[in-house]
């Protein structure tokens, strides 16, 4: 293509900061992440846009760029003729320092405009550990940290993503939060802003926020007051004005075939964590794993049909040039037509050097059948099974229904089908967990290796045991559960390591990966925190806290110090938020935010967990009354559709796609 004009001309309202930024880029690492210019990126005319969104993923570009949520909203918004959406990501400390020295504000990567000049700043939080990065971005943008200090010229800061289901810890810093699916929500918000601006912005910022709040699906924290009991618990959360709803409801996009995004995936120039065309094959999950917030808050299950999946993959690959396809969902092997999807894609791309992957962690032989089908083209992807808990008892507590016998049989099947290595994923710190539950993981891994060696007659098989730290999340049956202290977690991880290596022959065949307990405790503080935790976040940020999801940047001590400094004034402390068990009648900070789940059902499921009683999946067994479908007026949408994947048009001649009008 022709030479890019260096960022071009721009109106005085939001001049590009490219000339200033360009001089800083030679001085920092990986400058390409701040340059933009990706395939799929859109730069629209600033002046003619009536609503302008800056979309932020509050982590480094390499993590943020592949994020599906931001890509979808970016494309949906930019398809509107009078709307402009640009992206911004967290800048690394080396650039942050230079930006402060040279007065360069937080900018978008698309046309390098100052974030402060946009109408809206939408921030997608997949994890609570991005909160400090939000503060950095606001501060660099020149936007007051506290929403109440913002004026007419400041963007409306809107939080979304899974963490927005409890935005209370960042309530002070955001103007609004949207719960649930974003596709339709951003359009509704855009329309409200468009109309309000066209009317001459009547009533200022307050009126705009009020109009958003009246939709009943946008939460505006400033319109709600929180009262506390003398012992520190919440007494109630109530609207402080008569015209806003008592509860705010999540959004659910029902027909995924009507929203086949991303159509034009962003193709980064920089190296990122995922370099593939990802298509969400269904949304929601009803397996009912009690630790899984995603599974709880995204109900009901809504499948994308086999024909839409096939078409999206074909067009996505053609547009992007990616050679890898990920069929994403919370449990991809559960799609009602997954077998036909896999064989259809494997046939379509056989011999094309495209690799297909199905990130499913289901522990059964069907998973292996699918993986074999997908690797027909030659490239074999890794296999991960997630029993999550080491003992049958703890698996009943978390509702991950897999017997030890099934697990061993499944892994051995993988070995006999040619996989020499499998990954087993577990959690540590689960409710009611004992040392023994964790040490059982070692025994299970030993059994897997023994059985695998016997079945294959080979010593050349391995498994990797990967341990994640459990964090209780809002809107799950474990929202009342006490966390274990990092000392307890770290001791269990040590015991597990000893147990794995207690047999040297077997231990050599087992890899062991884990994270220590400290970051999980802080994630737990942020996940189940209330508005008082905002003061801790602010203090940590002031003390230099950045990129808390990165072990090399995370400082446990900084969080401990800030919590110790700030929380006693409220009569609470870090333990109160983390290792304390909540009671049934306690008002939880997110009770006024409606994920559709019935709180009584969640409590009952929590009691079932404690009595080790399992719950079936409503996709295959009768409704178990979690409450989502009736309260949200939704229903499960699954196939099989009975349709088949359309064959791809074969490429004729040498296949070269020469543009008609070469530039």
């Amino acid at each position: 293509m022709s030479v890019a004009s260096d960022a071009g001309t721009s109106p005085s309202t939001a001049p590009t900061v490219w000339p200033q930024l360009e001089r800083l880029l030679p001085l920092i690492s990986k400058p390409i992440q701040y340059v933009g210019g990706e395939l799929g990126a859109t730069v629209k005319d600033w002046d003619t846009a009536s609503v302008r969104w800056a979309l932020m993923y509050p982590d480094a570009y390499e993590v943020g760029l592949p994020n599906q949520g931001v890509q979808i909203l970016y494309e949906v918004l930019n398809e509107l003729p009078d709307v402009l959406a640009e992206r911004t990501y967290a800048v690394w400390p080396d650039l942050e320092k230079l930006m402060r020295e040279h007065g360069v504000p937080q900018f978008t990567v698309d046309s390098h405009r100052p974030v402060g000049a946009f109408d809206l700043l939408g921030v997608s939080f997949s994890t609570e550990l991005g909160y400090t990065n939000l503060l950095t971005a606001l501060h660099l943008a020149g936007i007051p940290l506290s929403a109440v200090d913002r004026g007419a010229g400041d963007p409306v800061v809107v939080a979304g993503g899974h963490a927005a289901f409890n935005p209370e810890p960042i309530a002070e810093f955001i103007d609004a939060a949207v719960l649930g699916d974003g596709e339709e929500a951003v359009l509704e918000i855009t329309e409200i802003v468009r109309r309000w601006k066209a009317e001459g912005s009547p009533g200022g910022r307050d009126e705009l926020l009020l109009r958003l709040a009246r939709t009943e699906s946008v939460y505006v924290p400033r319109f709600y007051d929180v009262d506390y009991l003398p012992d520190g618990r919440i007494q109630r959360v109530v609207p402080n004005r008569p015209d806003v709803p008592f509860r705010v409801h999540k959004r659910t996009t029902m027909d995924l075939d009507a929203w086949p995004y991303p159509k034009k995936p962003l193709v980064p120039l920089a190296e990122t964590v995922h370099e593939r065309y990802a298509v969400e094959i269904f949304r929601g999950c009803t397996r009912g794993c009690r630790f899984c917030q995603a599974g709880m808050i995204t109900r009901p299950v809504r499948e994308r049909s086999i024909t839409t999946v096939g078409q999206m993959v074909a067009e996505g690959l053609e547009f992007s040039g990616f050679r890898e396809v990920g069929l994403l969902s919370l449990s991809s092997a559960d799609h009602s037509e997954i077998g036909d999807i896999c064989s259809g894609l494997a046939t379509a791309y056989e011999g094309s050097n495209v690799s297909l992957s199905l990130p499913s962690t289901r522990v059964d032989a069907f998973n292996i059948t699918l993986a074999e089908e997908l690797s027909r083209g030659g490239r074999r992807t890794g296999l991960t099974f997630a029993p999550e808990g080491g003992s049958e008892r703890i698996r009943r507590v978390i509702n991950k229904m897999v017997s030890e016998e099934d697990l061993i049989r499944t892994v051995v099947t993988a070995y006999t089908h040619g996989w020499r290595q499998v990954k087993l994923y577990f959690m540590c710190g689960l409710p009611t967990e004992t040392d023994d539950d964790v040490v059982q993981i070692a025994r299970l891994a030993h059994e897997v290796i023994k059985a695998g060696r016997q079945a294959t007659g080979s010593k050349d098989i391995r498994c990797t045991v990967s341990i994640g730290g459990f964090v209780p999340k809002p809107h799950t049956p474990f929202q009342w559960a006490p966390m274990s202290s990092p000392e307890v977690i770290d001791n269990r991880l040590r015991l597990l390591k000893q147990a794995i290596n207690s047999d040297r022959s077997l231990g050599r065949a087992i890899g062991y990966r884990y994270h220590d307990g400290q970051p999980s405790l802080i994630e737990g503080l942020l996940a189940r925190g209330d508005r008082r935790v905002g003061a801790v976040i602010r203090r940590v940020w002031e003390q230099g806290g950045r990129f808390d999801g990165w072990s090399e940047h995370f400082s446990y001590q900084r969080w401990i110090d800030a919590a110790t400094e700030v929380l006693p004034a409220f009569g609470v402390d870090l333990d109160w938020y983390t290792t304390r068990e909540r009671e049934e009648l306690e008002v939880l900070p997110w009770d006024h935010l409606d994920s559709g789940l019935d709180k009584d059902w969640l409590w009952k499921d929590w009691q079932d967990a404690l009595s080790e009683y399992e719950q079936d999946d409503c996709r295959w067994t009768p409704c178990f009354d979690c409450g989502v479908c009736p309260s949200m007026d939704t229903e499960i949408q699954i196939g099989p559709s009975g349709r088949t994947m359309l064959p791809l048009t074969p490429v004729s001649g040498n296949g070269l796609r020469v543009p008609a009008e070469a530039r």
């Binding site: 040619g418 796609r657 020469v658």
Partner: protein, 257 residues
């Protein structure tokens, strides 16, 4: 036991090799070589180029790079070679690949390879280096001092640690002029430089370090370097186009800038 799987030799053979000149321009000069290589592999897919693959468990597209301008420097003259499993018209290949790459990564010309190795036809680089905010006379003096010195040791941090090497010896030609900057249009010093490619490579940055060593030349803002040409150096100090030997009035895309 299941025998270890050996991949079948199922990839189609190479029937045509094409050599390509491309540019890294504007903001996309901040792509590293790895960034460019990933983008190019995807462009090959998007453009429907009948690329050939290597054999083995993880087949790789047959693309070999003859050069890699440092991250942050622009270039009008980078070279690579692709192996194809079907014959294409080099002109069409230029158009298809250029349309498939981001603006700023621009495919300029392509010729069918006639043998020989591309890398052997490249032993020197011609650079244009803008020094925004500098006094052209001070730069003139520094250049004169640099030229008058037989050896100018400079240091650079590499993956192996700090290395010290001579930045003067490989410099075949260096001169300074005053001209408007391509960045902000203001007059500044512009270096014209021809450097022989040796190991370790003497980059524009190293020559600028050399000017600092011999004449304390400090740069108020980072320089903007552009590689104008690469090729083999003649006795007269000129560069011979590395595609010259493959060309017979062959395809050429956008003219060099």
């Amino acid at each position: 036991m299941t025998p270890k799987r050996q991949p079948e030799a199922n990839q189609e053979p190479v029937v045509q090799r094409i050599r390509i000149r491309y540019a890294k321009r504007g903001p996309l000069r901040f792509t590293s070589h790895r960034d460019f290589a990933r983008a190019f592999e995807r462009a090959v897919q998007r453009a429907g180029v009948p690329i050939a693959y290597s054999q083995g468990f993880t087949p790789h597209p047959r693309i070999s790079y003859a050069s890699a301008a440092p991250t942050g420097t622009g270039s009008e003259a980078e070279y690579l070679e692709v192996g194809l499993r079907a014959v294409v018209d080099p002109d069409d290949l230029v158009k298809a690949l250029d349309a498939a790459l981001s603006p700023g990564l621009d495919v300029l010309e392509a010729v069918e390879a006639r043998g020989g190795a591309l890398a052997e036809r490249i032993d020197a680089s011609h650079w244009r280096i803008e020094l925004p905010g500098t006094d052209p006379e001070a730069v003139d003096r520094a250049v004169a001092a640099f030229e008058a010195t037989a050896e100018v040791p400079v240091s650079r941090l590499t993956k192996q640690g700090t290395r010290t090497f001579d930045a003067r010896g490989p410099v075949v030609r260096i001169s300074a002029a005053a001209a408007p900057s391509e960045g902000d249009g203001r007059t500044c010093a512009i270096l014209d430089l021809v450097v022989r490619q040796v190991t370790p490579t003497v980059r524009p940055d190293d020559v600028l370090s050399g000017l600092r060593v011999v004449a304390d030349l400090e740069l108020p803002v980072p320089p903007r370097a552009i590689r104008l040409a690469q090729g083999s150096l003649t006795a007269q100090g000129e560069l011979v186009d590395p595609l010259f030997a493959d060309r017979d009035g062959a395809a050429s895309g956008a003219p060099p800038v």
